[in-house]
Symmetry: C2
């Protein structure tokens, strides 16, 4: 039971926008499971966690090249495929085209954190729930069906052929919802994103996902920016917002 008194300044919030990879779904654990399954089937030995981290590590730089205009826009499936091919090539690993596609589409089948479906289902009764993920529409639709995520709308910077660091993509999806930034709250496990969207007037909710990077050695990020809400998980967010 929480006292909602300190949440009064959030009374105007109508829609919650969610970062998805890491915030709603466990990309790392899910990828490790899929890679292990494939290598077991093939009878080969590959370091699944190391591959997952390496693959994910190439995502930022490949988006940056699109944002900088040095690479043309392509969607996240296409970035994933290109970085996987590069990674396998560098490691001298050969996989069939079919296995490559199975791995690329593993991102469409990521598993939710244990609290995600229950938390979102409660929040949906009170708010419009939308994705705001670098995932492309097809990826996010498949993931929602696979994981049972009850989105009201699938929104993504793909709709303006860009990625999230471009703040215009947030402004655009907010306008599609017919709202002003202060009527929306960004929910994310990543302080950097919350700092950025706070700057355009969105409300912010931080949900630490300490297991996101597992045993990868990536240090736990500190919350180095003011946010409107800190919650332990999405069910706790529903508690805090009275949903």
């Amino acid at each position: 039971m929480s006292d909602h008194g300190d949440m009064e300044h959030l009374g105007g919030v109508r829609a919650l926008l969610f970062d998805v990879f890491g915030t709603v779904v466990d990309w790392r654990g899910s990828l490790i499971t899929e890679i292990t399954q494939i290598t077991d089937e093939m009878g080969i030995d590959l370091p699944a966690a190391e591959l997952a981290d390496d693959w994910r590590g190439r995502y930022g730089p490949s988006m940056e090249r699109v944002l900088a205009g040095s690479d043309p826009y392509v969607n996240l499936d296409t970035l994933h495929r290109a970085s996987l091919l590069q990674l396998l090539d560098e490691r001298g690993v050969r996989l069939s085209g079919e296995t490559i596609e199975r791995l690329v589409f593993a991102w469409h089948r990521l598993e939710p954190w244990p609290d995600s479906v229950r938390g979102l289902t409660r929040l949906k009764s009170r708010y419009v729930l939308a994705t705001m993920s670098n995932g492309n529409v097809a990826l996010l639709v498949d993931m929602a069906k696979h994981a049972g995520l009850p989105w009201d709308a699938i929104l993504t910077p793909e709709l303006m052929q860009t990625y999230k660091k471009n703040l215009d993509s947030y402004r655009y999806v907010i306008s599609l919802l017919g709202l002003r930034p202060e009527q929306t709250m960004m929910v994310a496990a990543h302080p950097g994103e919350l700092r950025m969207v706070g700057g355009i007037g969105m409300r912010t909710a931080y949900v630490p996902r300490l297991a996101e990077f597992g045993d990868s050695g990536q240090p736990v990020v500190e919350l180095d920016t003011p946010v409107d809400v800190v919650c332990t998980d999405l069910e706790n967010l529903a508690d805090l917002l009275g949903a």
Copy 2:
């Protein structure tokens, strides 16, 4: 129980795209109810059905001006507001700004046909369900929450700032789903739209909604184009598609 043998050529369909106004929701009955409620509250006498039909009648021409490039793109809420103001002005009816907005947003609160929610819920277990409506995202999201429509994705030609007669808008939303036209089926109560999208390779399902125009005197449209499926309502569509 239906024999699905004749549906085998539809085995590749992955997503159903729905026309919404008239096909999924009863725009006319819902508007008449809202107008009657408002005029009762105000103690004035206005012909609700006539106003609803007149308002709806201005929608086609206003879209045509956008498609022809003679008017700039504005979303459907904005077209609805402009045509309502014009209509009231021509009839010498004066309403407050608040009442005008209540009427414009009545389009966000349209009621589903009795079979829509059950039919869509069954179809959702087997297919990706998306809107393909001239309604804007905000309108379609509000309507889905109001009416309980379980869409997987809200897609609309608003995403490319156009309206449905522009066939590129269908090609665009199909590409967002990562599909080819023949992997999608358009579900609509309007043969003209089905003829059009059949031409770009979409599969087609016709659901006659004989009550759409009620007692307006608008003649019932004949099915003057070949379609892949004719169903009596959306539950029957679920039967026919084995969902």
